[in-house]
Symmetry: C2
Subunit: 194 residues, 2 copies
């Protein structure tokens, strides 16, 4: 009995995403083409275009597939320690050459393609931003964050400076840099007198 | 007497930069070509390539020429007010469609071209970042900023969140957003007990 169409489709989809991931790792985004993905995955180009608008969209999905499941921030009860952890992890990611190349690619794509920008924001970034926001909300409920702190903006205070440093390549990413950033954010949100 | 070569060169250079600025305003970066700049400026393409490596480099110089002279931050003695002013101005710039399109262009260019990235950083951004840093240093000397605040990182705390919001198009740019950011930064740097 031949495989059912839905299962065959799913198999092709997985092969395409796996091929994309492999080619990205091997030779980066610049050399990646729909042709090379199709050849590696053993499918026709039309199969790729049936599901994705172009290279950027396939890459986005390949990356999203491989993201760690957990976007929730650990909650040890110690906001300072938890924030330091998330800032260190973010800094380490931006300092990593391979991960940085992928982020660079996606950043260029979202700057030139509005539709893809929305997908990247919603699928890759929003869960992460919301994880930090949820942790800040819990801390606020526990009296560890000022009642009037604008939490969406505090989230940007965590990620924005890292992005800025990465984008402008102004200075290196070190652990002491990460910890100093976490400390600045903590100072900005801690209620007076604590 | 024919014009001297140096003066003729300077006239061509100015014509090229003016043409670039006009074409950018009229039809944006995407449609801009070295050919269209040469035609508008009344010079040959080779004249442009003699001075610039490509489109990104000409655009960078055209923008740099038109930047306001003063990059120094006002120093009214009131750091809160001065920071609010710089954040409001930055937010207004990112909210402006025309300026935003140019920034988008330059951001793509610096992501794909290391050499241009260095020029953009040094010519367009560093003076601005250093203006804020100098203001923070004066405030620190006046006891309005914690002695141990890492000033380079405080500067990134001012600009990074705006860049992040702009890049990810997460939320609108309002004056109340700008003021809340300035307030967060102030809280992060103000010495305890003040």
């Amino acid at each position: 009995m031949p495989p059912q169409p839905a299962r065959r489709s799913e198999r092709s989809r997985r092969a395409i995403l796996a091929a994309t991931q492999e080619l990205l790792t091997e030779s980066g985004y610049a050399g990646l083409t729909i042709e090379s993905i199709a050849a590696r995955a053993g499918v026709g180009k039309q199969t790729i275009y049936r599901w994705w608008r172009g290279k950027g969209a396939v890459v986005l999905e390949a990356i999203a597939e491989h993201l760690p499941e957990a976007t929730a921030l650990p909650d040890t009860g110690d906001l300072r320690a938890d924030l330091r952890g998330v800032v260190r992890a973010t800094v380490a990611e931006f300092a990593d050459t391979g991960a940085s190349a992928v982020t660079r690619t996606l950043t260029v794509e979202i700057l030139v393609d509005d539709e893809l920008a929305g997908e990247v924001r919603d699928r890759l970034l929003r869960p992460r931003l919301e994880g930090v926001r949820a942790r800040l909300e819990a801390a606020r409920a526990a009296g560890q964050v000022r009642a009037d702190a604008p939490l969406d903006q505090v989230v940007e205070l965590v990620f924005g400076p890292v992005y800025h440093r990465w984008l402008l390549r102004t200075s290196p990413f070190t652990e002491s840099y990460a910890d100093a950033l976490a400390k600045l954010v903590m100072t900005a949100v801690t209620p007076a007198g604590r």
